[in-house]
Structure formats: structure tokens, C-alpha cells
């Protein structure tokens, strides 16, 4: 018997005994269970971070967001445009020092493809009080298929440090019930971009 600060003499490659062997076996089996969980959840789970990923120039993303705002704007709040896109559409949310553009008005139960990106530095998308978080990286479009499951008034807090005004960066998402009428001025059905026409 020797300690960890003494040089082992002769051959130390010896068979593993009893309790230690059992523990290594249990630990390895548990590791395999953990390993299986992530792929299985992609098949069975309701919430996955995969998304549709593509590179995008920040200027181009800004242009898309502005066109999205022009098309579906229904109002303004604290200087930030409020938009109500039709169910099933592509919706855009852009982080910039230090605000989220625009305020989104969504419909419970409808499906949307949410495009997240940044105009300047890294930002953090944190939907509260639900606590759903994604990294927002300039130059990359993170497309997430979302379905609001609850009506209410939500906040998007930035949770990636983005400069001195970081803690002031808070956005808003409103989810209305299926039955509620569309806000005045909301158009419906028009596709964005129109590049396919």
C-alpha cells in the first residue's frame, strides 16, 4: 500500500476488485442513460433548441426586420413599433444596443417562425416569466418554430452583457387569445419579402 505522493514500484497495472469495479460499472451505465437522453428528446420532446440556422449580414437582417415592421405595424409603445403578424408567418426580432425591435403581438395556439439576430454585439433572449433563453449572435439568424401556449403580457430581458446599457434592454411580447379580434390596422395573409413573386 502506498499514497498518491509515493512512486509505485514495479507493475501497477493490476485487476480492479469488488466495490470499485461495481462502482465503475454503475457509473458507466448511468453515463449511457444520460447520453441517450438528448437524442431521444429530439424525437419525443416538445422543446428543442435546434431551429433553422443560417448566416445573415446584420444590415440585411435589419432590412428584413424593418420591412416586417412596415408590413404589420399596428401601433407604437415607448417609441418601439408594435406589430401583429398573421398566424403561420415568419416573424423577426432584432436585438440592438439596448432594445428589442419590435414589440410582438401574437396569437395563442398559432404557429410562427421566430427569427432572432443582432444588429451589433451578442445579446441574450430571455423570455420571462417563462424563463426560455437563447443566444443572439450578430451575423447569424436563429429561426425557431414557436407556438404560444398561454395568453398574457411577457418580457424579453437581455441576459448577455452588451455594454453599459445592458440592464435597460427589455422588450415585450403580448399573446392574445384566439377569440380576440385583430388590432386595428393589422393586415393578414401578406407574405414577407415577396422575392418569390
Amino acid at each position: 500500500m502506498h499514497t498518491g505522493i509515493q512512486s509505485p514500484q514495479g507493475v501497477w497495472w493490476k485487476p480492479v476488485r469488488g466495490g470499485e469495479k461495481l462502482w465503475v460499472g454503475i457509473a458507466f451505465a448511468w453515463c449511457l442513460v444520460l447520453f441517450a437522453m438528448m437524442p431521444l428528446w429530439h424525437l419525443r420532446g416538445g422543446q428543442n433548441p435546434s431551429g433553422i440556422r443560417s448566416k445573415v449580414d446584420p444590415q440585411a437582417f435589419m432590412a428584413r426586420t424593418q420591412e416586417f415592421i412596415r408590413t404589420y405595424q399596428v401601433g407604437t409603445e415607448n417609441g418601439i413599433p408594435v406589430v401583429e403578424p398573421p398566424p403561420g408567418s415568419d416573424i423577426y426580432l432584432m436585438g440592438m444596443m439596448w432594445s428589442w425591435q419590435p414589440v410582438l403581438r401574437l396569437r395563442k395556439g398559432a404557429q410562427y417562425t421566430l427569427h432572432l439576430s443582432s444588429f451589433d454585439v451578442n445579446h441574450g433572449f430571455s423570455l420571462l416569466p417563462f424563463n426560455i433563453n437563447f443566444q443572439v449572435v450578430p451575423g447569424y439568424d436563429y429561426g425557431l418554430r414557436i407556438t404560444p401556449t398561454e395568453a398574457g403580457d411577457f418580457r424579453i430581458v437581455c441576459n448577455e452583457f452588451c455594454g453599459i446599457g445592458h440592464h435597460l434592454m427589455i422588450g415585450r411580447v403580448i399573446v392574445v387569445d384566439e377569440s380576440e379580434p385583430a388590432a386595428a390596422g393589422a393586415s393578414s395573409g401578406a407574405a414577407i419579402g415577396g422575392g418569390n413573386l
Binding site: 512512486s7 447520453f35 433548441p49 439576430s117 433563453n133
Partner: protein, 506 residues
């Protein structure tokens, strides 16, 4: 030649005078960095605790940068450099290879650290520890980091050279001790880590001068090859220190060299992949990449920690039983030296690292669970359990042996030293668990004001958040008290302590 050595009266090891001095210098600078990071910690804590909300916003983010750099880079790496000299030259009775280069590397690291401190404190680098591009700091900041990293890389090279010198000069027989083996895995991981560091900080330095461009996602990918891997140096070094403290405090034995060494090797092979944990909800990487890498390829590095979590306590038990504590199941534990701060620090380090740090880390290392954890306080809750209550506490425990064995001074304020690990461990446990709970409510990390007082929209967290944030503050204050006691003991012992006599000249 032999005049350069002394024989340690406690361990019988021959200690090279240069190793002695290098260990002292690195340990002292490490503790100074700990002091700077600790003062920052106190001010940050009193700011995030909204009742006090001490600092203005700019100084909050500035000191957050200072805290991260001093704790995660300067304190811990200087201390690890000391451990590398100890595990190579001292444990193998050898001289330090290339002592002049060793001193050059030490001063290079000090110079790099000073440049970084200067840029941070003068507000030229308010980019936090991660310095995510395109947030921009002064070029001096990146240059300071590069100088520091080059110095550290040279020390790692000297470590390997010392292993070769010891082997050639036959300063030991048989194989290298397990603690040296563990330190060698930490050194290999350090090479991988610093390689990533060079790959990202050099282009970023050039970018800060206006040369070329750095993609924000690629920066995150490569930077975490540095940022997370550097924490794996800490894990490997900490586990080596567990075996070391076990041997020094209770004469704990190595149950099976093969199993312990395989476990260390698993760290080298798989742990670098863990960097992917930070990118689970990033837009630039596919799910297959995320799943494979965040599971460290079948969680084989987690397996390594689970093995050490068994073999270290088992070795302690067997060591105690060999010393005669054989009654019943638990006499070995009851009669353990609980008043020896080296021993209590070892035990709390194992428990908090494994149960709090390990479980929280593996949990939100799962792709889907990461959605509810990313960039919330759950993340610092996790790594304060691993790198502070785990690594730092183990290093603190080791200090109580470094002071008499290397500095040859009596540990000052012994009654305080006896309770220091209890105070620090209890504080960090409360702090980490409270942070983790706050994170489950979505409280963001690195955030100046969660009352959103001047923001365009209001938001109110659940009232339970006030409670856990108060618990976090109390835990943090306890831990900072423990840390302050540690620094007071260390500084007093080293500079004003009573010298130990009974020295044998070789």
C-alpha cells in the same frame, strides 16, 4: 550541486532551492490576485443584492471583469504553476529544469497580468471575462492576456522538461506518483487550452488594431475552447490535490493505480469537448454537434469524476483503517482529523464539487434543459460550486501544508485556520444553491439591476426571488469572511510568521 537541496523533515523529500523559490513566488502572486478578486466579489455581491445596490452601473460591469480575470485566470493559474513545480521537482526529488527560463516565464506572467489589470481598472476593457467579439477592448488587454498565456505555456514546458530530467537523473525509482501523474494531465489540458487561447486572442488582438475580422460565433466557439478547458485544468489539478491532501492529512492510499490513472486520462481525452456546453442555444451550430460534444462523447469525462469521487474517499477510509481506526463502519470517519483545515477543506471540496457542482453542471449540460438555464444565475451558481467551493477550497486546504513545508513557517492564527474551511464551505454552499434557485426563476447573470428601474418596460420577478437573493447575499458574505480569514492567515504566516526550525541540510 547537493547544496542546492534541503531535505524536508516531514516528508523526507529533497527540495531544490529553485523549486522552493518558484513555488513561493507563484503562490504569493496568486494570493494577491485572490485578494483583488475577493474585494471585487464583495462589491459585486453588495450590488446584486438589490437592498444595498452599492455600485454605479459602469463600475459594476468593470469589477465583474476584474473579478472574473483575477479569480479564474490570475489566482488560479499562478497557484497551479506552483503546483506544477511541486508535483514535478519536489515530489520527484529533482532539480527544476531551466530555472532561468522559469523565472522569465514568471515575470512574463506578472507583466501580462499587470497590463490586463491596468486596462481593466482604467475602463479600457469593460468587456467582461469572456470579451465576446464584437465588444471591443483596447489592444493592450488582448496583448496582456497573450503575454500571460505565453508565460504559462513556458511553465508547462518546464514541467515536462523536469519530468524528463528526473527520469534521466534517476531521482526516483518505479513510476511517477499519482499526484504527479494528475498534474501531468492538468499540464496536457493546459497545452490544449492555451492553444485555443492563442488561436482566438491573436486574431482578436489584430482585429482590435483594425486588421482583419473575427466572426462572433467562431469567437464563441474557439474562445470556449480556452474558457471551459481552463476550468478543466482546474478540475484535474484539484483532483491531484485531493490525492495529495489525502496523503498528507491521513496517509490515504491509492486503491488501484490503474483505475485512478485511467480516470485522469479520460479527462485529457474528452474534457475539451465540454466547451460545447456554452453553445447549446447558439444559432451557429447543429444539434448533432451539440449532442455529441456536450455529452463529452458518452459522458466519459463525467465518468472520470465519478471514479475519483469514489476512489478518493475510499483511499481516505483505507488509510484511516491502516492507522488503526477499524471499529465498526464509521470509526475512520468519526476519528478523522476534523480540526485539521487541510482535511476539512478536502472533504468539503469533494462533497460540494461533486454533489452541487457536478449535478448542476451535468443537468444543464443537456441541450433541452439548457434552454431554461442559459445565462441565468444557474450558471454562476454551478461554477461557484465547482471552481470556488471545489478547486479554490482544495487549494486553500493545501496552503495549510505549503506554509510549513515550503515556506517553513508556523501557520498563524491556528484557531481561525481550524474553522476557516467550515466557514468558507458553508458560505459557498448557501451562495451556490441560492444562485441556482434564482436562476430557475430566470434571473439573469451579469445583470446590474433586476428591478429594471429605468428600463422602458417594467418586470417583476416572483417574490421568492427576493428571498433567494437574500440567501445568496448571506452565503456570499459568509464565504467572503472565510476568504478574508484565509488571506489574513496566509499573508501573516508568510511575512511575519514564526520560522520552523529542525531543518536538515542535504
Amino acid at each position: 550541486m547537493s547544496a542546492d537541496f534541503r531535505t524536508c523533515p516531514t516528508t523526507g523529500l529533497k527540495v531544490h532551492a529553485q523549486a522552493d523559490r518558484l513555488i513561493k513566488a507563484n503562490a504569493v502572486v496568486g494570493v494577491v490576485a485572490l485578494l483583488i478578486g475577493g474585494i471585487a466579489a464583495l462589491l459585486l455581491l453588495l450590488t446584486r443584492w438589490q437592498v444595498v445596490h452599492l455600485l454605479p452601473a459602469d463600475w459594476f460591469y468593470r469589477l465583474l471583469t476584474v473579478h472574473g480575470m483575477n479569480m479564474l485566470i490570475f489566482f488560479i493559474l499562478f497557484f497551479e504553476m506552483a503546483i506544477l513545480y511541486f508535483a514535478s521537482a519536489v515530489l520527484l526529488n529533482s532539480r527544476v529544469a531551466a530555472p532561468r527560463l522559469a523565472w522569465f516565464s514568471f515575470w512574463l506572467m506578472v507583466a501580462g497580468a499587470l497590463v490586463v489589470e491596468w486596462t481593466m481598472f482604467t475602463g479600457r476593457a469593460d468587456v467582461l471575462f469572456t470579451s465576446y467579439v464584437p465588444l471591443r477592448a483596447t489592444p493592450w488587454f488582448y496583448l496582456g492576456v497573450i503575454l500571460f498565456a505565453v508565460g504559462a505555456l513556458l511553465v508547462v514546458a518546464i514541467f515536462f522538461a523536469t519530468l524528463i530530467v528526473a527520469k534521466k537523473e534517476r531521482t526516483y525509482t518505479g513510476s511517477i506518483p499519482l499526484v504527479t501523474f494528475g498534474a501531468a494531465t492538468a499540464a496536457i489540458i493546459a497545452v490544449i487550452t492555451l492553444g485555443h487561447g492563442a488561436a482566438i486572442y491573436i486574431p482578436t488582438f489584430l482585429w482590435s488594431l483594425g486588421i482583419g475580422n473575427v466572426d462572433a460565433q467562431i469567437y464563441r466557439l474557439v474562445w470556449w475552447g480556452l474558457g471551459h478547458s481552463s476550468q478543466q485544468i482546474n478540475v484535474a489539478a484539484m483532483v491531484a490535490v485531493w490525492y495529495l491532501l489525502g496523503a498528507l492529512t491521513v496517509g490515504s492510499v491509492v486503491i488501484n493505480e490503474k483505475i485512478s490513472r485511467i480516470a485522469f486520462t479520460l479527462y485529457v481525452l474528452f474534457i475539451s469537448m465540454a466547451a460545447a456546453h456554452h453553445l447549446l442555444v447558439d444559432p451557429g451550430l447543429p444539434p448533432t454537434w451539440k449532442v455529441w460534444n456536450t455529452s463529452y462523447a458518452m459522458y466519459l469525462a463525467v465518468l472520470a469524476s465519478m471514479i475519483h469521487g469514489f476512489t478518493v474517499p475510499a483511499g481516505i477510509e483505507l488509510g484511516q483503517r491502516l492507522r488503526g481506526y477499524t471499529k465498526g463502519l464509521f470509526e475512520w470517519l468519526r476519528r478523522a482529523p476534523w480540526g485539521d483545515p487541510g482535511f476539512s477543506a478536502l472533504i468539503f471540496s469533494i462533497i460540494i464539487f461533486g454533489f452541487v457542482g457536478g449535478i448542476t453542471g451535468v443537468t444543464f449540460g443537456t441541450e433541452q434543459i439548457n434552454i431554461i438555464a442559459h445565462n441565468t444565475l444557474r450558471v454562476p451558481g454551478h461554477f461557484h460550486a465547482t471552481v470556488v467551493a471545489g478547486t479554490t477550497l482544495a487549494f486553500m486546504g493545501l496552503t495549510y501544508y505549503v506554509i510549513p513545508l515550503i515556506f517553513r513557517k508556523k501557520v498563524a492564527f491556528w484557531p481561525l485556520a481550524r474553522i476557516q474551511p467550515y466557514l468558507f464551505a458553508a458560505g459557498m454552499l448557501i451562495f451556490s444553491v441560492a444562485m441556482t434557485f434564482a436562476g430557475t426563476f430566470g434571473v439573469p447573470r451579469r445583470h446590474y439591476d433586476i428591478s429594471f428601474a429605468q428600463a422602458p418596460f417594467d418586470f417583476q420577478f416572483s417574490p421568492a426571488v427576493d428571498l433567494v437573493m437574500t440567501a445568496m447575499a448571506i452565503g456570499g458574505l459568509l464565504a467572503i469572511t472565510g476568504g478574508a480569514i484565509y488571506i489574513a492567515i496566509t499573508v501573516w504566516s508568510v511575512f511575519f510568521g514564526k520560522p520552523l526550525e529542525a531543518e536538515v541540510k542535504a
